[in-house]
Structures are given as C-alpha cells and as structure tokens.
Amino acid sequence: MLANNNLKVCRTLVKRDFKFHHNKNCILVAATMLVTALYTFVFLLGGSIKGAFLLNYQYTYGSTSQILYTELTNQQADIIIENVNVKNTVRLNTIGQLTDPMMGQRLVKLAVTNYAYAETVLSVPTTGSLPKNDNEIALDGFTMNSLGIPYELGTPVTLLWTDLEGNAYASDFTLCGWWTSSTIFTEACAWIAADTAQKLFPSYQDKSSHSVTLGVNLHQPKNLDQQAATILEEQGITGVNFTTNLAYNKVRQEQAMQKAMPFYSLSIVVMLCGCLMIYCIVHVAAQQDTLYYAALKSLGMTPRQIRRLLLEQGCAISFLGFFPGWVLGFGLYFVIANRMILGVEKNPALYFLSWLPFIAAALCTLVTILLSYLIPTIRLSHMTPVQTVRSATIYLPRHRYSSDGRITLVNLALRTTFGRNQWRTIVSTLSLLLAAVLISSAWIQYVSFREDMYLSIISPWDYSLIDGSAYLSVQRYNESNYGITEKTVKELQMRPEVIAVSTLKSREVELNASDELRQRIVDYYNQPYDETMTRKETQAGYPDWCAGVERLEQSGEYIGLVIGVNGAYLQYILDNCPFTSGSFDDKAFASGNYVLAAGAYSKGISTPAEGETVELNGCTYTILGSVMNDEGYISGTNSTQAAFHIVYILPVAQFDLLFPEQAYRQLAIDIDPAQQDTFEIYLDYYEQEQNQDVKIMRRSEYATNFDVARLNMVLPKLIVALVLFGIALINFANILVIKTISRKWEFAIYESLGMTNIQLRCLILLEGIFHAILVFVLLVPVVIFFSAAVMPAVVEAIGSWCTVYRFSLLPLWGVLLMILLLAVTVPFICLRFITKGSLTERMRYIE
C-alpha cells in the first residue's frame, strides 16, 4: 500500500525550477563552472608538471620511447612488434655511423628518414625539412658545430662514415635541414632519404642485416627491464641489446608525483572551499525556498522524493557547469602552463594535454555539488512540514533594546543588520575568509622570496660565459668542445669595462680508491638519512649514481672530477662550501702540491680527508682539506659514468699543467656597473660573431628569471585563491541580493508609513556599511593572525634558501575594499528593482 512513489515528478519540478528561477540557477551554474574550472586547471597543471619532469629525464635518455632495442634484424623487429604487451613502436633503419674524428665521443648514426622515430628522439629539423630527395641530409646543430658546417640550406657536405659491415666511405650530401636540440645526446641521427640509403648500402634491408633500432611503448609501463627481457623471451629472440627509459623508473615516477603534488593538493582546497561556497548558495537558496519545500512536503512529497528533487537539481547544475568550466579551466591552464613549463619545444600546454583531468574535474565537481546539496537535503527531509515552516519564519531578536521608542535610521539599520539571524552572514563570511587567507598566504609567499639572496647565490658575478654543451642543467658537458678560446679570455680581460675574469675548467678522470677511502665512502652513504632510509636509498631515483657507488664498493674504481678554478669561483667555493676537514691556505693551494676534495653537501667526510693523497694524471697531490660541495657554480652535468664522482679542486694554473689541451668550461666576469651598456653592446656583438657554441648568461637575465620563477611559484595557488574569492564574492553578492529582495514587503511597509526615498536610500547605505563592518570584524583578526602567526612557519616549511618571511596585509585591504563596494552597491541596484511598481502591488507581494 505504501510502495507507490513517483520519482518522475521530481524531474518536472527541476525543469520548472530552471524555467522560473533564472537568477538562482545562473548563480549556481556560474559557481559550479568556476569550481569545475579550478579542478580542470589544477589537474591539467599537475599532470603537465609531472609530464615535464619526466620529459626532462627522457631528454637525458635521448628518446621518449620506453624501451629501445638496438641492432635488430628486420625480421626480429617484426616479431617483437607482434608481442601483446607492445602498445606501439617506432622504427629506425641505420646504414652506418659518421666517423669524422672531429665528432669526438659522439655517435651519429646515418639513418633512413623516419618522422615518427625522429619525433621520439627530438630530432625533427627546426630549420628546413627531413630529406626527401636523393643525397639530401639533415643534421643536428652539435654535429654541424663539430664539423664546422655553416648554417645554410643547400650547403654541400662531405662526410666520412662506416657502414654496418665496417667499410669506410666519404660521401657527398646536400644539407636540407637541421635542428638545434637543447640537449646533447651521445647518440644522434643524420637523416638521409631511403633512396640514398638504398644506393649507399643496399643490404640494410636484408633480413639478416642488424640495421634496426626499435623504440617500444608498452601498455603497462612498469618494470621496464623485466618486461623488455620477457618480450624477447616470449618472442624467442636472443642476443639482442636493449636499454630502458629512466623516466619510467619507479622512484622517478614517485618523484614526478611529488613534484605534481602541490598542484594536485590544491584540489583539496578547491573541494573544501568549493563545497562550502556552493553549500552557502544552495543553503541560502534552500532557506529562501523553505516555504516552498514545506508546501511540497505538506502536499505529500516524501523525504525520498525531496532528496531526489534536490539531488537531481544538483546534478543538473553540475552538468550545466561542466562545459564552460572545462573551457575556462583549460584557458587558465593554457596561459599558465606556457609560463611555468620551460624547455619543451612544443607548446607544453598542448603537449601534455590529456582527457583524464577533464573527467577527473567533472567527477570532483559532481562530488562537490552533491556534498553541498546533501546538508540541506538531510535537514529538509528530517523535518515535519510545520517544523520546516517554523524554521523559515523570522527569529525573535534575542536582545531587548532599551530606547525611548523613537528609532533613528542608524538604529533601524543596526537592528536589521545585527538583530537578525546571522547564520547566513557567518557562513558567507567563512568562505570569504578562506579565500582571503589563501590570497594572503600566496601573497606573503610571493613577497618572501628575496631577489638579493637569490642572486648572491645563483649569479654571484655579473656575467657568465658558458661552453655551449654545458649551458642548461640537463646538458652533458662535452670535454672536447672548444667553445671558449684563449683569445676570448684575453679579449675580455683587455676590455675597459671588465674588472675581473675568473675561469673554470673541468675534466673527468678514472681513479682508484684505497681500501680505507672506499670503506669510508660506503659507510658514509649507508648512514641513515632519516628514520626511513639511508643516504644511498634517497638516491634510488638515480640509477647511474647508484651504479657509480656500486662500482666503487666492488672495485675501488670511481670517476674523479678535476676542477680548475680561480678568482670568483674559488671565492664562491670558500664562501659557500663548508670545510669538513682541514682549512684553506692560500699559499699552499697556489703551490700546486695541494688540492681540495669536495663531496656530498651534507655533514661528514665523503671524500679523501685532510693530509691524504690523490694521484691525478700521474702527479701526486696532498688533500688540503675537504668541503661539502655546493655545485651551484658549475653549469651543465657530467657524463653518465660520472654521475657519482669526487671533486678535486685546484687552481686553473695547476690544472693547465695537468691537462694542457683542456678548454674552458665557463668564465665569470665582473664589470664596472657604470659601463654596463657598452659591455652589453660588446657581448651582443660577440654573440653574433661567435659560433653558437658559447652561451652568455647575464645577471640581469637571472633577475628576470627570478621574477618569473617567483611569480610561477605562487601563480597556481594565487589563481585558485582568486577564483575561490570570485565564488565567495558571487555568494556574498547573492546573499545581499536575496536579503534585499526578500525585504520588498518590509520596504513597502516603511514607505506606506511615510518613509521618503532619501530615507530609504540612507537606510540601505547604512545597512551596507554595517554589513561590511560585520564581515570585517570576522575577517580582519583571522587574516592578521594567520599572516602573522601561521605564515612564518608555512614560509619556513615550503620556502627555499632564498626566502625570508615578510609580513604584508596588502591583499586583505583589497579584499575589504571589494566587500565594502559590494555591500554598498548591490543593495542599491536591487532597490531599483524592488521599488518598481506601486506600493499596493509590493505590499500584496507577501500574501
């Protein structure tokens, strides 16, 4: 008998609600849109940051493929492709490699043009195109620099190369394109057309020719090494080499996730604030509609039907908000991603784009909205109709006001602002408060970054000249490069603007550790780093480094990085690298008998200690002291084998005696600031005249970079805070509108009793000001407390070495101004609408 329950009627009511209550629903959809936009924004951004972090490692690996099988036959490649675990592959046919002695250690394959493969190894020409015609060739900038090929399309090129069978040739090509990759890969390709390959080395297509490199992506990119081996096993192939992409290393993935966490965690803030704010709007709407719901209930709408009604309403609003939210979120992301993610050739916003964040954003929005609807739903469905009506009727003022009975406008305004139920105001203020706190925290974080501290560490000198192969931190320094010449150094020293030129050279050498040293280092890295892991375990994301330590542990062999420094570089080391044993002695250091040993930047000796000796290139040196190495002064990275190394520092003059042929890695130049302009002109000229193998870094660029980076650090948080503030303001304005409009009847009564228009306006103005004051009273102490007491700890926790907490209330004043503005203007705008029509109509309105 009691089973009948028509749920379809809810849909009708929801549809009608949308038809009749444009304002309420528009506000809700707008708020939902902003919430969706925020979720989309943080999810997309987090995904991109993660992707960019991993991509950096892919750059180091040299390919975006997960597994590279090398020296396969065509037949083997065909078999591997068929394995079920393989998602997709790219394929490269090599006919040989360049063997020009000028190439140094780099291996450049002469390969048949394959666009898909070229993309995965970031070797698509940026100028010109891939070869199409016979005899055309496309090369990378590093190879061209090494071989001295001019950057001009159509240049004839003669290359020495060896085919797969070991026969040497010298062939003529025409340059049809080149690319300047930001990274120097030890392996690169020189692209030629298939026809050319066919002509030069016809047997590359033979079934048995080991000419194929296969880049493989898997469906499940986990445990790559194991999977790579399994695939070979399953397909019955033996004797094939493969390498796997470090970016898919488990620890790397975790690190990438950590990088993205600050952005993903913003979604929790969005969830909290979004929920609260939408709840406010829904609650106010529900409060306003209480009589409506009470009527529905008394007509026989069951709690289940009421729940269904509200939930359907929530869903409808979510769905309406999704699309504009996605678009807006993507727009925000598009602008920010391009600022924040550097070093990706293509537009990073599009490069890392995926549909997952959109779906996640939609789901989160739905959860947020439904949560916001849940509370009024539960509240409503647990009350009897009469209780519902009673909850909607005006509360009795709690305080008795003593007066002579005559009431002034100020009094009346005070009474209406403070005397009524303040729940709505408090809830709306809470969301404003959250937004204000977020904005303040982003702002204080921003102003706490100190440029002077940053520059004193990052760019202690005015200019740096850096070898082209060590310009970026991901670049591997090429020891055989001759970018910076003696001539350049001389010329710089002669410039009238220059005060000092300091130089730095480096060289990797194979060394053997004594048993004692070996034990010391192994012990050092086995010490606990924190409660959960040892120092060595913290480096698990860097297998090359781990391999280096392993090697030292087993054989005593390790790579020593010998660095020659003078002037500002030496000063930097003395200023920033604390001694762990021994001390600095100017004369002894200059004498050529002593070196400084430098190890991990952490307490304890991880290197040979004071008084011990080391043999470098046949000469024996005594250790003057050991330091914790702050490598901030060295640009670029070292070879893979040298991922783990011990640094030996000696004066450049001594370094030159040891390695006379070694070129400069970098120069530090200090100038007379008064003459900066002429020096800049000289540098511009130098940059144009010299080959691209030398990069100049200006301190002013660092300053600009710093400003950009500082803004980027807080930008996502700031954007989230500002959008949430936007929602809070919508909510605040909504409450003001509802508050004013719901008093249509009250104002009509005032007027019927003889209140003039001016008096009414005065009343509204006063109420607006009082309302704003009420919000201020709740807002100001909390924000000040937060800024003064909580933020120092926050800055300490998430800040870096260049942050010093700074107190600032600037955003608070901005927030207060907006609130005051809204509190005063919104009721005035509403007043125009509710005083339309005659008093009669307005007084009848309530009935």
Binding site: L2, N4, T12, L13, D17, A295, L299, G300, T384, V386
Partner: protein, 223 residues
C-alpha cells in the same frame, strides 16, 4: 459508528522556561467517519496546531493520534507522508500552491506524487463547480486570492481522500462563493463518505457543521 480520527492526551509545547507556550494542553477527541466537524476559537487558541497534528504535519510533544487503524507515531517520515497523501486532503490557510506548476498540475500534484492516474471526469466536475475551467493553464501567481483558494480546494478534493482537513477554506471568498464551497464540501463528503474537519471564524458556516468544537488556550472547552 466507526471512529476515523482519534486523539488521546494531545500536548504540544513550544519554547522553554519563561517563554514556554502551551499550544495544545491535553486534547482528547474522537471524530466519526462521514461527519462534518467545525473547530472554532480565538486566534492563538491552538486550532491550527490541532489541525496540523491531526493531519500528521507536526509531531505532538505528548499523546497519540490514530487515523482509522493507523497509529501515526508508528510510521517513519517516509511512510507517514505516503499515508497522508493517500488518506488526507488538506486545504491550507495560505493555499500552499506550487508556484512553478500551473493550476491543473497543482490540482493533480498529490496524485502525481503518488504515481497514480487522476480521475479526470471527477476532477473536471470539481473544477467546473469551482469556476476554474478557464484558468487551468494559468500559474498561481497570476490568480487572485479567491481563485488561489479555490485551486487549493480542488486539489484537496481531487484525490477523494477519506478525511479533509481545512484551515479557514473560505477566508478569502465572498459570501456566495463561500456558500458554494461549503455546499460542495458537504456534497462530496456525502457521496464519498468523507470526514471533514474545518477551522472557521464564520459562525454561520460553523452552524452548518454536524458538530462544533471550541478551543481555548489549547483545550477543548465545548463540544
């Protein structure tokens, strides 16, 4: 005769301490099926509270209500609602029309909620009697107070409930219409053996009832 409504020891208190209001202070009442009872009393005497209790719109602080054989307190809120919309037709003082539904949709709303098919011929008869046939497509806000009241009456009758509870159903109607409405109520109650409990100020209307219940200060003072 069969008792359809039975209230025992009904009490309803609001507030606490000094501000305690005893809206109902021990009401015992039995109403038989098919009877027309009028409740009279000064404003604030507890008439509306009693009517709301009888219809299950509010929960008593003490005491019990039995409709037919069903003890209202034993139903959960879902069951209570469904029971109410099947058994009881309300005519509210403030009409409680759903503003987003037109007149016809309003009239059949409780039936729609129940997922039943409305008896169109019967409802159109009621509609014509109340002079609403031209207003079926209008929204409640476009109607005068009297017209809204007539829609509310039509809605209460539409589901042919066994009990009709009416809170001043003729308050906004002129004498002629209000006589018609009372006539209609009496007629349908005869035809479907319905019980009517009505609050009224109008002593003439009260005279038409089978029985008059006078309430003062939350107690029944005369029957």
């Amino acid at each position: 005769m069969e008792t359809i409504l039975k209230a025992t020891g009904l009490k309803k208190y609001y507030g606490k301490g000094e501000t305690l209001v005893k809206a109902l202070d021990g009401i015992d009442l039995e109403i038989e099926r098919g009877k027309f009872a009028a409740i009279i009393g000064t404003s604030g005497s507890g008439k509306s509270t009693l009517l709301n209790m009888l219809g299950g719109l509010d929960i008593p602080s003490e005491g019990s209500i039995k409709v037919g054989n069903t003890e209202l307190a034993k139903l959960n809120s879902e069951q209570a609602t469904i029971f109410r919309r099947k058994q009881i037709g309300f005519i509210f003082q403030n009409y409680n029309l759903v503003p987003v539904l037109n007149v016809w949709e309003n009239i059949i709303f409780p039936i729609t909620l129940d997922g039943r098919k409305p008896d169109k011929t019967f409802i159109m008869q009621v509609v014509r009697l109340l002079g609403l046939e031209k207003k079926l497509d209008s929204l409640p806000n476009n109607l005068s107070g009297g017209q809204q009241q007539r829609v509310a009456i039509a809605r209460a009758l539409a589901s042919k409930p066994s009990i009709i509870l009416a809170d001043e159903p003729t308050g906004n109607l002129d004498t002629k219409t209000s006589d018609d409405v009372i006539g209609l109520l009496k007629m349908t109650s005869k035809e479907f053996n319905q019980t009517i409990v009505m609050i009224t100020h109008n002593s003439e209307i009260a005279q038409m009832a089978d029985r008059i219940i006078r309430i003062e200060d939350g107690r029944i003072v005369a029957q």
